[in-house]
Symmetry: C2
Subunit: 320 residues, 2 copies
């Protein structure tokens, strides 16, 4: 059991082993984790939160790997929050991605926290917020939030970054069709990866035409072409990120951080309420409700009302 | 405002307009919806719940469309629960899918409920369970639960079906690699769609070899080859579904239904608790907490504790 006060001090001076231990502690999510996060919370960093999203197979992981390399070459310290659905469909791919990023695994200034193990009950905002808290307290310069752009929660979490990169690939079939539906509004920079593929120029022209149509009065987000596997264009991409960051309004950044806080606070409150249910209704009682619902003796709405009533009754009884 | 008792009667005799109205009512999720669902709940049908999952682009929607046609030809009444992440990435594709299924839209015995609008707070099990309840009460023979196989919740929900079809496509890159990670265990039938593509036979051989390796002592799930765009193989698929359904153990089916109930009950309880927070903590107070967290005057864990305490305090005060 590490001493929490010491661990906090270690994270604050960006001690490699302390940061690693803090992340493990938070992954296990016990009371110590909460004490740690409370202790780290007052220490705000000046980290840039960079969201990266793209459809599966768009070469996003290779791009992230290249970005890490370029940011490290500029002396930036990096924390990575990898939001991957822990789906059987992508399980293999995720493993591959992680291995690809392993070349940075001996670099003490590159930390990855994977979100692959999240449960049914949401908690994505909480887990992301906690990872960001640790990285901010440790003084990371850039925090990369990497998501697969499928699933509403994954898209929501990338919206909370300071700057959002959307990764496209030519030849991925109906890219343009797919990306029509709302991605334009959230992208700060488009990365057209695999730009050496036939048809890349056509896709670029289509994308730009679409952006001009869709975002009439606004600044068009830059489109940066890369060939991540060869490292081409990634320096230009990093430059575009820093140029755009410098132009971002403080108020805009604050609004996004507040959205993350609101979402996170709801997650945490929900989890605490859930803990209360567990204490008010025993597992065996919950099983009895399930049997009664299965045999249609009670409907699930009435059962839920009874559970909620029991929770608040118990609390008021304890108070007497 | 429809009279709920009349609406219940209408659904029970599978009146087209009543089923449509019931689905709309549940989508709007107000108090009437709960009264309706409570009223329908005791009426259990003998519906077969069929889960269909597959990676985006595997031609799943065309396959579902074909399945609907074949099932209708056998006189089966069908309800469809379409679980689509309402992601900007898939928005366009979903629209396309819906249009493809439109050819059944004039058929009164084919109903689709789409789950595209679900919020952050989960609720997928609740929404799925509710749609199933309506379809069961209306006496649908087959309820199709269609999911995109990315995202943990989507995979979880398909697990709750009586029978699970997993849709594969040759040439979708690293299909085999991707499907290694856990899909074998949940599939009852593999559908190798686009079977006229070069390489289809190779993929079939690989898949079967993998299944034999992975599921040593169990019955191997059948692999059915289809060309959904031409309707090839879909009759064989429907036959395979009914053959396998006849062999399924009652206990196994009951266990899956109970899992759905447990998950749904948690969703409903959570939602009711959430409603309580809304009443205990005003929006303006919640905003104040966000501001205080943003300015690091309070950490989100302490804020959540205060919110939960206020909730239970208020309840006990009301009781006095």
């Amino acid at each position: 059991m590490p001493d929490i006060a010491d661990l906090i001090k270690g994270v604050l001076r960006d001690d490699v082993r302390s940061v690693a231990r803090a992340i493990s502690l938070v992954e296990n999510a016990d009371d110590d984790a909460q004490a740690l996060l409370k202790g780290l919370f007052p220490h705000r960093g000046e980290s840039l939160i960079l969201g990266i999203t793209g459809a599966p197979g768009s070469g996003k992981s290779t791009l992230v790997d290249q970005l890490i390399g370029r940011l490290r070459a500029r002396g930036k310290k990096i924390g990575i929050v990898a939001v991957d659905p822990s789906s059987p469909f992508t399980g293999g791919a995720i493993l591959g991605d992680r291995i690809r990023m392993m070349r940075h695994s001996t670099d003490p200034d590159v930390f990855i926290r994977s979100m692959a193990t999240r449960g049914h009950l949401g908690g994505l905002a909480k887990a992301t917020g906690e990872a960001i808290s640790i990285f901010e307290a440790a003084g990371k310069d850039v925090i990369l939030v990497e998501t697969v752009g499928v699933g509403q929660d994954e898209v929501e979490v990338v919206k909370l970054a300071d700057l959002i990169l959307v990764n496209l690939t030519p030849g991925a079939g109906d890219d343009i069709q797919i990306f029509k539906a709302g991605i334009m509004e959230i992208a700060d920079i488009f990365v057209l990866n695999k730009a050496d593929t036939p048809g890349a120029n056509r896709v670029e022209i289509q994308l730009k035409a679409m952006l001009e149509l869709g975002l009439k009065d606004k600044d068009l987000p830059p489109v940066v072409k890369t060939v991540a596997t060869e490292g081409k264009g990634t320096d230009e991409l990093v430059q575009a990120v820093f140029n755009l960051t410098a132009k971002k309004e403080r108020a805009d950044l604050a609004a996004r951080r507040k959205k993350l806080i609101a979402w996170m606070l709801k997650d945490i409150t929900q989890e605490k309420l859930y803990g209360l249910i567990g204490r008010a209704v025993k597992a065996s009682e919950f099983e009895r409700y399930i049997e009664k619902i299965f045999s249609r003796k009670i409907d699930p709405y009435t059962a839920a009302d009874e559970i909620v009533a029991r929770l608040t009754d118990k609390r008021s009884r304890e108070k007497r």
